[in-house]
Amino acid sequence: MLQNFINAYSPDNLRYLFGGLGITLLVSVISIIGSFIIGAILGVIRYVKIKYVSAIVGVVIDVIRNLPLILILFFTYFGLPNLGVKPEIIPAAILAMTIFESTMLAEIVRSGIQAVDSGQMEGARANGLTYWQGLWYIVLPQALVKMIPAIVSQFISLVKDTSLATIILLPEMLFRSQIIYGQNTNYIIPMFVAIAAMYFVVCYLLSLLARHLEKRQA
């Protein structure tokens, strides 16, 4: 058994697995940045209540939030080619993650804005700022600080959810571990231990960060 572990954790295999971790983090980081930008826009649209637009955006957000991420992955990777667009695996994964996560972040942004004392906006308006200036310079910066712990938590689920993209053959950790133990069944347990540990370390450290940020705010 021990020998299996030693053999399984050969430098080549470990390098290959850590490369998978790199892809996981790459996809997660790009997706969280993209979904923060889109989510912020959607969240603000939902908050300011533009006639019809906010309602439609609300429905779209609710629909996407309530679908499984795997389905959105399938849509982008297997569905888009039917419409004449054939994305590569990594962009397809990033696209699917971004679509899904931006709806989650839209809700975080909206509740972050709502958590800012309404007196802030009134004060800004009373001082002669327009509604949008008040939102941009006074309300949003305060809301952002309140949102950060929730965004970090969302990033954790994003990192975990990246594993679902094995289904479209994204070469991340889980996928690569399957390739390694596919060659030698003795490596199955060492591989599961390795990827579970890698996911755990990354996500646990992030959750400590989220908790720390939350405490500092309270």
Partner: protein, 212 residues
């Protein structure tokens, strides 16, 4: 999309049934396990709190798919053979139970500590006070987040498709590849997922507003 419903109605219904079945089993089991670990975390024993912490952190921070694959790939080799549905349901249960534990714990914390002190002062033991005084009050606060956990459970049950669990997502793939109408097939199962998840989400939002 309508032709998909007409031609593959039976397959879709079967998938929907499997998805619901596995979600309900996982919900009941993870409620029991999650509440158990939430109580352990709130218990006076340091050792019990440690065990609960380790359990919750492990299953919260490892992806659901890795847990499910573990039961699907490793268990049959060394312990016991199981089909995709069982492996998927076990994975879902363990993963969700860690989130439910956190939810229930937050509920317990939101009950005024005076309730526990009062119960103890009246001669109830710690566990009696928990069972008869604190938990019933905690569950009222916990219902909306638990509903949202159930929505997540239904969505996450799509990991069964990875292990051949014959759930809705799995059937969607089957239909997509046999009808070649990829978008229509995925839209059809998307509609079926929404039929389950949207009403629950909206109802929980309504409950949250009423409680607040």
């Amino acid at each position: 999309m309508i032709s998909i419903f007409q031609n593959y109605g039976g397959t879709l219904l079967y998938g929907l049934g499997q998805t619901l079945l596995c979600s309900l089993i996982a919900l009941v089991l993870s409620l029991i396990i999650g509440t158990f670990f939430a109580l352990l975390e709130e218990s006076p024993s340091k050792f019990a709190r440690g065990i609960a912490r380790v359990y919750i952190e492990i299953f919260r921070n490892i992806p659901l798919l890795v847990i499910t694959m573990f039961f699907f790939v490793v268990f049959p080799l060394y312990v016991v053979k199981m089909n995709g549905f069982t492996a998927g349901t076990i994975g879902l249960t363990l993963y969700t139970s860690s989130f439910i534990a956190e939810t229930v714990r937050a509920g317990i914390k939101s009950v005024d500590p005076g309730q526990m002190e009062g119960a103890r002062a009246n001669g109830l033991s710690f566990w009696q006070s928990m069972r008869y005084i604190v938990l019933p009050q905690a569950f009222r606060y916990v219902i909306p987040p638990l509903g949202n956990q159930f929505v997540n459970l239904v969505k996450n049950s799509s990991t069964l498709a990875f292990v051949g669990g014959f759930d809705l997502m799995y059937q969607g793939n089957v239909i997509a590849s046999s009808s070649l109408q990829t978008i229509a097939a995925y839209s059809a199962i998307g509609v079926l997922y929404l039929v389950i998840t949207l009403p629950i989400s909206y109802y929980m939002r309504y409950l949250e507003k009423r409680l607040a």
